[in-house]
Symmetry: C2
Subunit: 316 residues, 2 copies
């Protein structure tokens, strides 16, 4: 099975082809962790929507979605996708980088096209296409918004994620961008992309700092915890605002409704799995090249564009 070539193949696309038999189908495996938290549940939902959409558009494309509860289950799932389904391509969001590198390499060796999403493998060059969010840009976009809202001498606190490369990239880019603005960072602490940790860290900040003008929470789950702490302490007025990140449904809805406390969001969306599925199908259907690195922007979500990023049926 290879990429469409020349005009003959284009013509068959134009004619929408005859219904393909099972054996003629382009089989694409889509493997990701079992949705045990909200972001992952959103990813699962978006993968299912993309599956329906792409299979309706291309009758000869068969997308096979599999989710796995741990790295070794995901490794087994990849083996099955090759042995049982004989996939022509794989879209994979690895549970962890290290234990999935060899299993994905084995899929590659079977001749399948490989698209890796969000988390890279431990060895470079295995994937044909890499689709991911942009962590430094998430930090920069957040800092630019802060600079636009705050003035010289204003105070902020920062709640960070789990100590990881991702968290460092976001934090370092944020700090670099606000340099020279006169905005004071009173403190920064890890809240582990977690709602409860966000609540507790923010309670601590509120008890220690009487004058906080804004909060960078970096993540929508943390932001929800922060808002709860602000409201409990009665510190949610006077122009106070919180910047999260991801694109959670409740946050987007709040932006659409003109919420003052979380007025914007910065995109790092689980729907990137759909982008990866689109591009992988395009490898078989488009006359354009697909291999490379597709790094999604950390789009600023405002009341003007929020509706485009709101998926009412999604769990996230």
């Amino acid at each position: 099975m290879r990429k469409v070539v020349g005009l003959a193949a284009i013509a068959s696309v134009l004619a929408f082809a005859a219904p393909a038999t099972a054996q003629e189908k382009i089989k694409i495996g889509v493997s990701y962790p079992t949705p045990t938290h909200a972001w992952a549940a959103g990813m699962n939902w978006h993968a299912e929507v993309a599956e329906k959409r792409l299979e309706a558009l291309y009758p000869d494309v068969d997308l096979i979605l599999v989710n796995s509860p741990d790295p070794s289950a995901q490794a087994s799932a990849l083996e099955d996708l090759v042995a049982v389904h004989q996939i022509d391509a794989l879209v994979v969001l690895p549970f962890e980088s290290e234990p999935l590198t060899d299993p994905v390499l084995n899929v590659k060796k079977s001749g399948a096209w490989i698209t890796v999403v969000d988390r890279g493998l431990s060895q470079p060059g295995i994937e044909d296409l890499y689709v991911a969010g942009n962590n430094p840009e998430l930090g920069r976009v957040s800092a630019k918004y802060m600079k636009g809202r705050l003035k010289d001498g204003d105070n902020i606190v920062i709640l960070r994620g789990i100590p990881t490369v991702i968290d460092n990239e976001r934090f370092d880019a944020f700090m670099e961008e606000i340099k020279g603005s006169g905005i004071n960072v009173l403190d920064h602490k890890h809240a582990n992309w977690n709602r409860d940790d966000g609540f507790q860290v923010m309670q601590d900040f509120l008890s220690r700092f009487p004058d906080i003008d804004a909060v960078w929470a970096q993540d929508d789950d943390i932001a929800i915890g922060v808002v709860a702490a602000l409201k409990q302490a009665g510190r949610d007025g006077n122009g106070m605002f919180v910047v999260g990140g991801a694109g959670m449904k409740q946050i987007i809805k709040g932006i659409m409704d003109g919420d003052d406390l979380i007025p914007i969001d910065v995109l790092y969306p689980p729907s990137m799995i759909a982008t990866a599925m689109d591009a992988t199908v395009a490898h078989f259907k488009s006359n354009g090249p697909i291999a490379g690195r597709y790094i999604l922007g950390a789009t600023l979500i405002t009341p003007e564009n929020a509706e485009s990023y709101y998926f009412a049926e999604s769990p996230f």
Copy 2:
């Protein structure tokens, strides 16, 4: 006109919708230089193939292709796409960066989505999506192939392109990659991505260096000039090989036929315009995010995969 949202929109995609009236159509302008040389002619051909393919797939999408002979004509064409066609999105390969930056910014201000291809604008942040080749990787991939074929003490010559950032990126990455391999670079000279210059520069190299094992020509047009010079001098035997770059039809055909002199190629294809058109249509049709930077890989084309990159009807 905005991105599809939620299940209602997905459902209409699944049903392939009713034929859209002219006013309901999603209008996407595609603007690029008039095809006056082979690479640009290839781009024009691929844009037309993508237009037919995408309009057949999506009856409510109208792609409007316009090519322009110079920067000011392209600026006027962009004005018309907004004023006459009221486009919802623009795919643009700017003739030159500086004179097209303000015209593209004006299209952006009309509310249209902007996808920039290959050549960046002078001001960052105007485009929603940037689609381009990978010049450093083109140099690295070429050098890795050289290292695989040559041994310590072997001699090569390098023909460079037009003195530009693109040429420097390719050359610097190549030199960095062969460092420590023991391969000697006898000389490097600019051949301006031109067949005749390639012939002349190679004639000079052949007269000065009696022992050349391989040639990095960086570009398929230069490579064709190099091969002519090698054959005229009777220096095309003894394992001599030439590495070009781009993905020209004649070169790909040679690779498919097992040519010894140009055994591989490195992709920097004009068909990237089709990738940009696919992604721009996906902005209106997919549940996945599209904004960001899509940097295409410099894929190594070998006898094994050459057929996938061969477009018999393309002028390039």
